[in-house]
Each structure stands twice: as C-alpha cells, then as structure tokens.
C-alpha cells in the first residue's frame, strides 16, 4: 500500500479509498468518497469477525469442486471472425480496436 494508515480508529481512510479507487480505475466525487469510506468501514468492521476463527493449518479453498489439470486436445476450431469480434467495439478502425493515444 502506498499510504500509511492514520490513527482514526477506522479500517479504511478517505485517502485509502482514493488509492483503491485508482487501482480499480474508478473516479469518485467528494460526496461519493465520504459515503464509500463510511460504508466500506462498516463492511470491513463486519468481516473482522473472521479473526475469531482459528484457521491454523487450514488449507485455503479456492473452488468447491477441486479439479486439477483440465486439459483439452490441441486441435483447431472455428473462431469468431474479425468483423464479429469488432462488432461491439465503441470504436474500431480496420481490423483494430481504437483507443486514445498510448505512446507519446
């Protein structure tokens, strides 16, 4: 994390909300930031209760039905055409998706 936690008694500060928003590529108004800070605090306080559970030597679980090494044959299938792939693009040019300039 890029920001030191201030001693506010809160789980998450407004500055942290701003930092996380940047990571998530979201912008918020000042009013939204205050509301989110308070609501995220409530939720994070609530999930604190997980610390009551002793999880020593418990393997974390990622999927309910654990499958391993799901392989498929390396065979050629039909794929979407260029036109179809670009059919939903907000902006396209030729065979490409168009975005604002990335490289100066």
């Amino acid at each position: 994390m890029g920001i030191e936690k201030q001693d506010t008694g809160l789980k998450i500060t407004k500055e942290e909300v701003e930092y996380v928003a940047h990571l998530a590529r979201l912008d918020f108004s000042e009013a939204e930031k205050s509301k989110f800070t308070s609501q995220l605090n409530d939720i994070l306080m609530y999930v604190e209760k997980l610390n009551q559970v002793d999880t020593t030597n418990v393997e974390p679980m990622s999927h309910a039905i654990a499958l391993q090494n799901v392989f498929r044959d390396d065979s050629v299938h039909d794929s979407l055409s260029h036109d179809l792939s670009l059919s939903n693009a907000p902006e396209a040019r030729g065979p490409f998706f168009r975005v604002p300039k990335v490289i100066e």
Binding site: M1, I12, E16, V17, V20, A21, L23, A24, R25, L26, D27, F28, F36, Q39, L40, D42, I43, L44, Y46, V47, K49, L50, N51, Q52, V53, T55, V58, E59, P60, M61, S62, H63, A64, I65, L67, V70, R72, L80, L84, S85, S87, N88, A89, P90, E91, F97, V99, P100, K101, V102
Partner: protein, 485 residues
Amino acid sequence: MELHQLTIHELQKLIRSQGIASSDIVKSVFSRIDAVEGNVHAYITLMKEYAFAEAAKADKDVKEGILKPLTGIPIALKDILCTKGFLTTCGSHILHNYVPPYDATVVQKLREAGAVFTGKTNMDEFAMGSSTETSYFGITRNPWDLERIPGGSSGGSAAAVAADECIASIGSDTGGSIRQPAALCGVVGMKPTYGRVSRFGLIAFASSLDQIGPFTKDVEDCAIMMNAIAGYDPRESTSVPLNVPDYTEFISRGIGGWKVGIPKEYFIEGIHPDIEKAMQRAITTVEGLGATCVEISLPHTEYCLAVYYIIAPAEASSNLARYDGVKYGFRPQGSIDLLDMYKKTRSAGFGAEVKRRIMIGTYALSSGYYDAYYKKASQVRALIKRDFTEAFTLCDAILTPTSPTPAFKIGEKMDDPLQMYLSDIFTISTNLAGIPGISVPCGFTKDGLPIGAQFLAGHFEEGKLIQIASAFEKYANIEKRRPAL
C-alpha cells in the same frame, strides 16, 4: 385455465395429445405480458417476433413428429446469459448496447431441447443485489404485492414465472440469487452443484460461486429443466465430467426412512414469525412423509456472510476489470488519454453497488491485505465446506428457511448494504460449499406473501433434492393461490 398459467409438463401433454400449438401458447404468454408487464417489469428485452417465428417452427416440427423435451415451451432468460444476436445487458449501463456474437451453452442446450425464448429478464446490475433494485433498467415489482421487491438478483426471472409471463425461466445464483427470489415470489428455484451446469456464456460475477439454474411453477418442471441444462461442457473447464441422471425419475420416489437435518444455527432470532411457523409445519410435513428430522450443527454458519463478502467482491473486482470501454459496451466521449478513458468509462458505466463491491474486492486483494482478508476468508470457507461434509454423514438432506423475511418494501434496504446482504444469510453457505439447493413454496404470511423452504444436499445430489422437494410439494398441500394482478 389459460395456457400461460400451465406448467411445462401440462403443456407437453396438450401439445402431444390435444393438438395445442406452440403458437397458441406463445400467443397466450405474450397477451399476458401485454396485460401485466407494465406493473411487474420482469423483462429488460422482449423477443416477441423471434418467439412467434420459433413457435411456428416448433409447430412444424410437431406435425412432422419431432418432439423434444421442451418443444414449443416459452422460456425466459436472465439477462446475464449471452444470446447470439440479442441484447445482453447484465442490468448494467456499461453493457447497455452489448449484442453477443455467441450463445451461452445453457442457451444453446435449451434451443436444442426445443425451447422458445420470450425475452431477457431484469436483474440486479451484474447480479449484485438481493432485490433487483440496482438494475440500470429500473426495478421489478413483486407480482404478489407491487409495493414490494421480488428478491434478487434474478428478480425478473422469478417474477416472470410468478406472473405467468413465461412458463419457466433461467437465473443465476452466486449467493442465493435464484433461491431467495423464488421464495419471495412463490415459485420453485434450484441452484445446482458447482460444476453441474456449464457457465460458458454466463457473464461472470464471482467465478468460484456462480451457478445457473431454473425457476419453475412446480418441482416436476424443475426436473425437466435440469435435464435440459445439466452436463459437462468442454468449453467450461470447471464443469464436471459426470453423467447426468434423468431427474424426472426422482419425482415419485418418496423419502421414507430418510434423515433430514435441521441446522440449529439457521433458526435464529430475527426470522419473521410467520416464516418460523411455516418451518415448523414443514418439519411436520417431512416427518409425515416417513422421514426423521434430526437436529444438526453447522458451526461456522455465522461466518458465511463475512466470508462471502470478501470472496465474491474479490472475484468480481477481477472479473469486472474487463469493462474498460475498449472491446464492447459503453465508452464516454472526450477522454484525454487511455487511463482517463478507463476511469471515465467505469465511473459512468457502473452503478453504486457494483462500485462498492469492486472497491471491497480491490482493497481485499491489494498488496499487504491479501493474507488478512482473502486468504483468511478462503480458509474459513474450507471450514464451512467441512461443516456440510460432516453434516451429510448424519442426514440425507437439510431443511432450512430460504430467506429470513418475506419480500420487503421497495427502497427499504437500499441505503444500508449490510442489511441488504443479510437477506442472503440462509443461502450463501450453499454457494461457498458448492452444494446444490432448492427453494419450494411452503405457505404464505398473514399478509399473503409467499414463503419458501430450502432443501440442501451433497455435491451432485440434485436428484435427492427433486425427490424430497416433490414429495414435500405433494404432501404439504400448500394452498394454490395466484397473485392478483
């Protein structure tokens, strides 16, 4: 009785023996939609022209002797399932104009089974909600009381079945999004085992929890729908390569000699008194069927909601990173550079609840917090799954309420996320453990609102759920009512 009021199995008989045409059924359903949709708003997109064309094809098939399991039956699809050539919004502004170039596997399977699609149903944005109030396309109203919510996130699919605006429908369930609206709208809803139904073409919310399942008017229809959609899909690597039984064979088997677990942690303070009474009656009904009810314990129940509200947002924050305004969907004008475009697209494209969950998820996964939140939640999740494994050594199935309250008033919980999240307190554990669950009607409150009972079974034991739910449905003798619309 009007055709739109009938079940799949009733209509199948009429099509096969009485010469009733699919076109007549579709006409009846769309006249019902014309009459009530203005009040209910179950649909985001109607596929009327398509439905009539497909019904005509079904009628031709029937004349030629081609009869498939769902030939000519009008089915509604939650707008989270990709439909080739038809708008698929996921209830979000960011996908308001998205027309998928392919069908979800479930959509393809239903087509192959002969189903006729009526339209795409309303839902909480990206399936994040318990009331269908977070949809970009407006709220859906509960057919039993238009001042109340239908539940969520698959509220449109539940309301469409309850209001006879389709014969059956498809929803998705990440923490209760099929079972809770089924309970609140007085219909049957099943969440299958994780891996039983392919998620290919289901717009992802939380990939380790999402499952697709049916809403139907009775349990036999649920079995018919499960037959159509279940099974391994080579395009979906978490779908499980196991044989699928014929679920309709479980309908009349009865449950004599079964042990049914009643988890003491699910009968807590705060349950609506009418629901508590209905559950007592449900226990008596189950015992009347020759089963024994035994008290069991699922000791980590109180942690389910906290685990869910770490894991689901964490997975969502990752899944929803793809909505960046580049490949599909909404993109606002006037961005100065790429980063600015991402931020403008996502800030204007997502609603408040989706942003809230992306924020929680991003925070929980961010450097320095991963162990404290995501890892801890995944460990407690393993303990929740273990609770169920141990419980199923003592009983064949588990009985709980589906929801702690009946349908609540529109707007009542919108400003208090934690209160809203509590609506899913009895359904979330099922998704965390990956087991199947079904909600069946089990009566009404004094105010005439539907109540649901939930049955749970072990992994891939959907057949057992059909068995107990159909026995319960027959024996409980729940008063047949229809919403007064």
